[in-house]
Amino acid sequence: MEQGPLLDRLRPYVPWGLAIPKDEGGRPTLLVTPGALLEVLEAARTHLALDALVDLTCWDRAPASPRFEAVYLLGQAGGSDRLTVKVQIEGDQPRLPSSVGVYPGAAWPEREVYDMFGVVFEGHPDLRRILMPDDWEGYPLRRDFPLTEEAVEFKGHTPKVPSEIIPFFRPHSPSGSGGDPPPVPG
């Protein structure tokens, strides 16, 4: 689908000041504020006939601010329209309104995002960890969550960090020499 028409059709129904259309390689994308999220999703569902939540995920932008960006990919059953809705959230305990009321299929992916990033979806009917054990501490997919070997109690063995094995190269580093490790937020 074209970039223009889809977003133009949505324009009358959402407060455009709170939603910024972006061009991302032909993918219609909206960057919205957390407060306008539900309104945008509802408008997309009602007025654009985007009746399926294809995917919902999140990523940690650290050390940039706002720290988290949740990504909603909306689609159409039997149609080819696609809309990406992004929302950036600040803080160590980020909160977002739950979209389960608009898209019932968001129930599990929201649990996954909560499990992996600690984003609390307000109004979610059953917000529990889904993939990690219930008593797990921390949020594994945050950038400051270290990836180490499992702590096995052998004498004199310190768990290694797998990311030390592969050298990190700065974007477009001129030579093959290793660069700084990836940024870890304070």
Binding site: L53, V54, G79, S80, P109, L141, L147, P162, H172, G176
Partner: protein, 392 residues
């Protein structure tokens, strides 16, 4: 007067249970024989693949990608590399595109054969299981010819495929596809004439069209509920626009409808694979950009430049420009896509896998609640989950 009490019993099914097709646990509240509530508990196969991928270069990551939906690894690689290629704005040569489509469709047939065998075995029809797995074995042999591996091939590369198809692949693939036509008919006869199969699948594990859409189901589950939704048709990718095929649907939404859809899909996949085999374009199988593709082996013997490129690509890898990308593909189980965020370094910042089995499993409670306990096994088999895909 006898007072009737409504009491439910909580039954734990799995994580070790042959009917769950992997490590899946279901907490079932049953009242007599009827399931009142079904709560899937996931994560028994969670291996942190998405986190691991952040520490590896793109070339290394294909090793992990293969292990997500391990029975459909070629389609998994297709989804991953299409997303990487969109980030890097790479154009894949025509021969490589056709080879990819050919292998994906052969892989789809093999994946559906696993479904067929496993679903039949769950209802104690073990002959179909044996026949289907014998046929799948022939795909594994083809895969071994192409990539050296029966499963987890690691054959696709950014900008193409690793090496050209070997000579012996063509007659073997053709004879596999030739035999397949009447083999599929035979399976269909074996199952459709089987009263047990029909009675245990027709009207069982029904998912309405509305529920299927709203719960995010895709693939044969959605098409079995009457929605003609196939990403290959709606958002053509990787060369599928050049091939003619039909999208089978069934309106009933039960386990039998999903079986019918998959049987027809095998025929359509055979059609695409035959067309790809027939009209395989000539030319290179990977882009000739030495910053992305490894140099051919024979150049390494006499070109210092090739050695340097080889060393740089293997140790450091390539740097996709900063940004994010997502390309939808139609895997054997539904929409598969990789959401990749790059910051311009040699490793992705975030990789998220849109896993069709995860979303399809979300629709399981809607299929089994209010139905007898014995239907749960049929329902799980009919959505054809791969737990590596659910838990990642």
């Amino acid at each position: 007067m006898i007072e009737r009490t409504r009491e439910t019993l909580t039954v734990n099914m799995g994580p070790q249970h042959p009917g769950t097709h992997g490590l899946l646990r279901l907490v079932l509240e049953i009242e007599g024989e009827i399931v009142r509530k079904c709560t899937p508990v996931l994560g028994y196969l969670h291996t942190g693949i998405e986190k691991e991928m952040e520490t590896r270069t793109y070339l290394q990551n294909v090793t992990l990608v293969d292990r997500i939906e391990y029975v459909a690894a070629y389609m998994e690689e297709m989804a991953f590399y299409l997303s990487v290629e969109r980030l890097m704005a790479l154009e894949v040569p025509p021969r490589a595109r056709s080879i990819r489509v050919l292998l994906c469709e052969l892989n789809r047939i093999a994946s559906h054969l696993i479904y067929l065998g496993a679903a039949a075995l769950d209802l104690n029809i073990s002959s179909v299981f044996m026949y289907a797995f014998a046929d799948r074995e022939r795909f594994l042999d083809l895969s071994e010819m192409v990539s050296g591996q029966r499963m987890m091939p690691g054959y696709f590369r950014a900008g193409g495929v690793a090496i050209d198809l070997p000579e012996e692949f063509f007659p073997a693939a053709r004879s596999f596809l030739d035999d397949l036509a009447h083999r599929i008919d035979e399976y269909e006869r074996l199952l459709d004439d089987n009263l047990i199969w029909r009675q245990r699948t027709q009207g069982v594990a029904t998912l309405s069209r509305e529920d299927a859409i709203s719960l995010g189901a895709t693939g044969p589950v959605l098409r079995g509920s009457g929605v003609a939704h196939d990403v290959r048709k709606l958002l053509p990718y990787g060369g599928y626009e050049e091939f003619a095929f039909d999208v089978p649907t069934q309106p009933e939404g039960d386990a039998y409808a999903r079986y019918r859809v998959r049987m027809e899909e095998m025929r359509q996949s055979r059609r695409i694979a035959l067309a790809a085999l027939e009209h395989l374009p000539g030319g290179p199988v990977i882009v000739d950009d030495r910053k992305v593709a490894l140099p051919p082996r024979h150049e390494l013997a006499h070109s210092m430049e090739a050695v340097i490129h080889q060393f740089k690509l293997v140790s450091e890898g390539y740097h996709p420009p900063a940004g994010d990308s997502y390309v939808a593909t139609e895997s054997a189980r539904g929409e598969k896509g990789y959401f990749i965020v790059s910051d311009g370094s040699n490793r992705p910042v975030r990789v998220h896998v849109r896993a069709p089995s995860f979303y399809n499993l979300q629709a399981l409670p809607a299929m089994v609640e209010g139905r007898p306990l014995g239907d749960v096994v049929v329902a799980i088999a009919s959505i054809d989950i791969v737990l590596g895909d659910v838990d990642r």
